[in-house]
Symmetry: C2
């Protein structure tokens, strides 16, 4: 197995892109990644996307996009793992290069969500849950997360306000990210007064949807000559699953797939949680930040909110998270999110993330989740 490096990144802003179709968004991110890498083509293209068939009446995205970017002929396919599609496609690209089946691979996460009616988008997102036992009961995605958050508050005795620091931190970091959807600082008062969505989850616990695309170019690490910019290598990659439905889990407050995939990735990379310089986690809802931090070894079970309250998650804290705004404020174009996390981790590791640059950052952790903790994919990246 050969080592793989990221030599180019590209992204579009997360926004309501009324003037751009799905393939145009993907193309913009891919061409930016190629240009960043100073290359003009690649052997293969892997696309992370969840909703195109349902919302854009378009599947076969591989060839749609390879054709659009002018690289007709290349190998191309779509990978889907609900909101974890981005990282799943990244892992597919990684395996393609490390297996020597291809010598270079583009990976793009892309989603177009805001052109549909909200009810259509909500219904399409619900396909990430168990259609027979969850969605059929009228459980939307936010409703499932609300049940989990309710149980967490009840079990461990935290108050809803204790989750405010996660959203405040995400919004603060997004202020400095030109690609973020929301550029608005929020206070604890804003958080407390935000409109309720599904109790106890209010609007400031939840990430906004959006249209967007983020891309990278992968090549064998040993093929890259020393350059002015540091080469970013992937030193850990693992995926794991849990039950699809929350009700099948012995402990609905423990993300076993996060723990399992993180542990595998740590082992591969030879690092421990304390070696991680920042963590781009999947904060689709504030409760998910807490559960992710606990499952990946940064907080004891039931004590995750402390990391927010004590400032550990800030840029200069013990374990900075959502350094470019996270899902909460950069936005959550579902199938693209995992690739935004990777692109943002590369920015940090290259030292291109000012003024939310984590100083001396050498090891970055990213984690992308599909469904309610059902499919979880973890990556560890490092700079030379």
């Amino acid at each position: 197995m050969r080592e793989v490096a990221i030599i180019g990144i590209g992204q579009t802003p997360v926004d309501e892109h009324w003037d751009k179709s799905l393939k145009e968004l993907a193309g913009e991110a891919i061409l930016a990644a190629l240009s960043d890498a100073r290359r003009d083509s690649a052997d293969a293209l892997f696309i992370g996307n969840m909703l195109s068939g349902m919302l854009s009446k378009q599947e076969n995205l591989g060839v749609l996009i390879s054709d659009w970017i002018g690289l007709t002929g290349m190998e191309a396919e779509k990978v889907e793992a609900a909101c974890g599609s981005g990282a799943a496609a990244f892992r597919a690209g990684l395996m393609a290069v490390s297996s020597e089946e291809v010598d270079s691979a583009l990976v793009v996460g892309v989603e177009k969500m805001t052109e549909s009616l909200p009810i259509e988008t909500t219904e399409a997102l619900a396909t990430a849950a168990d259609a027979d036992y969850e969605s059929a009961q009228g459980l939307s995605f936010v409703a499932i997360n609300a049940l989990v958050m309710q149980l967490y508050l009840h079990t461990y005795g935290w108050k809803h306000t204790d989750f405010a620091p996660f959203s405040i931190n995400a919004h603060a970091n997004a202020l400095h990210n030109p690609y973020a959807r929301l550029h608005e600082a929020i206070t604890e008062k804003d958080y407390v007064n935000a409109r309720m969505v599904a109790e106890p989850i209010n609007l400031l616990d939840a990430s906004p949807t959006g249209d967007g695309a983020a891309a990278v170019l992968l090549v064998p690490a040993d093929s890259v000559l020393a350059q002015d910019r540091r080469i970013i290598k992937i030193i850990g990659s693992a995926a794991a699953t849990d039950s699809i439905a929350i009700h099948s889990r012995k402990d609905p407050l423990w993300l076993s797939a996060a723990e399992k995939s993180a542990r595998k990735a740590y082992d591969q990379a030879g690092v421990r949680p304390e070696d991680v310089d920042f963590f781009e986690l999947h904060d689709a809802f504030s409760i998910m930040s807490v559960l992710s931090l606990e499952a990946c070894g940064f907080a004891e079970r039931g004590k995750g909110p402390r990391l927010g309250l004590e400032g550990d998650i800030l840029i200069n804290g013990r374990i900075p998270i959502t350094t470019r705004g996270g899902l909460k404020a950069r936005g959550h174009p579902v199938g693209a999110t995992g690739m935004y996390q990777i692109v943002e981790a590369v920015q940090q590791l290259r030292g291109e993330a000012a003024p939310t640059q984590v100083e001396n950052s050498r090891i970055g952790l990213t984690q992308n989740i599909g469904g309610s903790g059902a499919t979880i994919i973890t990556h560890i990246l490092t700079s030379n």
Copy 2:
């Protein structure tokens, strides 16, 4: 890169499975493949599927199915390349094992098509074409293929009847395949009199849809001890694309992605077309058999129909095709089809395909197509 072997196969009949959901079909094929391999688990699961989001309101199939088969926790994801999803998932599984990221991988192709209204299915299938420039004009999938067949007849001067041998052969072979959807021999008279679908394509030029699943278990070839049954190795694997829309091609009668992926696979395997003992090709419509045979080096351009008329495609012919019924008569549950082809090739190479066994077959070619020649994935398998 390590060599990969198939050590277990499983499939369900292609049929209208009113009593079985998508996950139950997938589970049946997977458990049969595990049982055939005398194993009880695997590291990862790759799922080929096109339509589940649109027709079953269910995405996140990876975790849905890993959970259902009792292997909760394993890595799992879906791969989509329209009707080429099955082979795309197979190639993903192959890369996962050959990259050493996993030591064993299940691959299943699964589709559930017959529970929806025909208009819903037709609309969902049209997402394989270019939504903006083909589907938006009212072009269904059969209509696109009808334009291609019309052009072929016009350009090369063949008659519609000259295509009859492909359908007759497929139906004859399916008679002996218990997993085939259609068990009905047809004559040239039946072919000529069949109901018109989209001129010149009639009902006996077109493959039937269906529900079904087919699965394999992949492991490193060097991990398998000599057994009573022959080990089947993958010696060639390649994917390529063309433009997504037919109208963008200089020559709409040439499957450049078939030629490109076949040539790569031949090179990898070190074989030539004349070394191939049988060819499981993608006969979604009879015209596709002809174009595939030409692009893969079995007939000169414009002369494909000869192979049917001269008996070359029969079980004892020069290049037997669709030996278990092909898409035409085994049926075409779209995202599952590529995996049916692989499973059938393994049956042939193991010598388990009587009475349509190709004698002394050692090298099998499979080719799966997504869209109208847009995404094409070719594999070459061999027995020891």
